[in-house]
């Protein structure tokens, strides 16, 4: 782990890692997605999407998301639709669900409760 005052870290703590499981790429996100972290969030998802037919984003450990994070998700969804790929979100906790509700996007995304459900075809 690096820290903010090094030159390679953005302030709001966010971590991203990816795994492969049964042909699906799972992106595990931890931390808060705001104006300072959403550019990294967006790029990571778009890059992962390029290399997989199915992307599942694990939001279990995301305790905050603002409209810039939502915009990133919408952009990835668009990219998925254009390239005929699948994007699933899972593990949404209350703060994340609330923002999706306030922005009226709950029905646009494919949302699953658990990783297991997200991996079902």
């Amino acid at each position: 782990m690096t820290h903010l005052l090094d030159d390679k870290r953005d302030a709001t703590p966010m971590k991203i890692s990816t795994r492969e499981l049964n042909g699906t790429t799972i992106v595990d996100v931890t931390g808060e997605i705001d104006m300072s972290t959403s550019p990294g969030f967006r790029t990571a998802l778009l890059e992962s999407l390029k290399k997989t037919p199915r992307l599942a984003v694990n939001l279990t450990n995301v305790r905050y998301v603002d409209s810039s994070g939502i915009a990133s998700l919408v952009e990835v969804l668009k990219a998925a639709r254009i390239s005929d790929k699948r994007l699933v979100l899972f593990g949404l906790n209350e703060p994340v669900q609330e923002v999706l509700q306030l922005t009226r996007l709950t029905k646009i995304f494919e949302i699953r409760k658990t990783e297991k459900e997200a991996l079902e075809v």
Binding site: L4, D10, A11, T12, P13, E32, D34, M35, S36, Y64, D66, S67, S68, I70, A71, V74, E75, K78, E94, P95, E98, V99, L102, T103, R104, L105, I108
Partner: protein, 158 residues
Amino acid sequence: MSCEKQSPPELPGCQEANGPLDFQLRILSDPRLLAVVRCTVAEFAAVSGFKEDQCRSITLAVDEALSNIIRHAYNNRRDQEIEMRLHADIGCLEFTFVDRGEPLDRSKYCAQPLDAVALGGRGTHLIRQIMDEVVYERVSEGNRLRLKKYLPPARLTP
């Protein structure tokens, strides 16, 4: 302190403490500080009597307002000054933001309909949905934004 009295006789020690609360901040327009402001705002709202889910949405609205100042008023410059005031009085929270950047183009406020495919335009909608009053003003120091949130009446009487 709120004393939950589960056992008679009453426990003493409920300190009297009332009157308005005031908290002023001056920060640079550095997005790394958004997380710090969110913690400040969430606790200020909690201390003022708002419930957890309300604190959460109030914090979101403040974060969106600050992000907009950094992004739009200051065009993503990180070295510009933002003043914030958090104020709580009976049944009401008020947040004031002052910046010296570009003023709001009113034709753009909540102009973009909430729409599945749009890549932006949701911040001002979130602010308006969450807060009870949203006032953008041009003042001598620059731009002033005031956000007000009233405590739901049910919670005014314990």
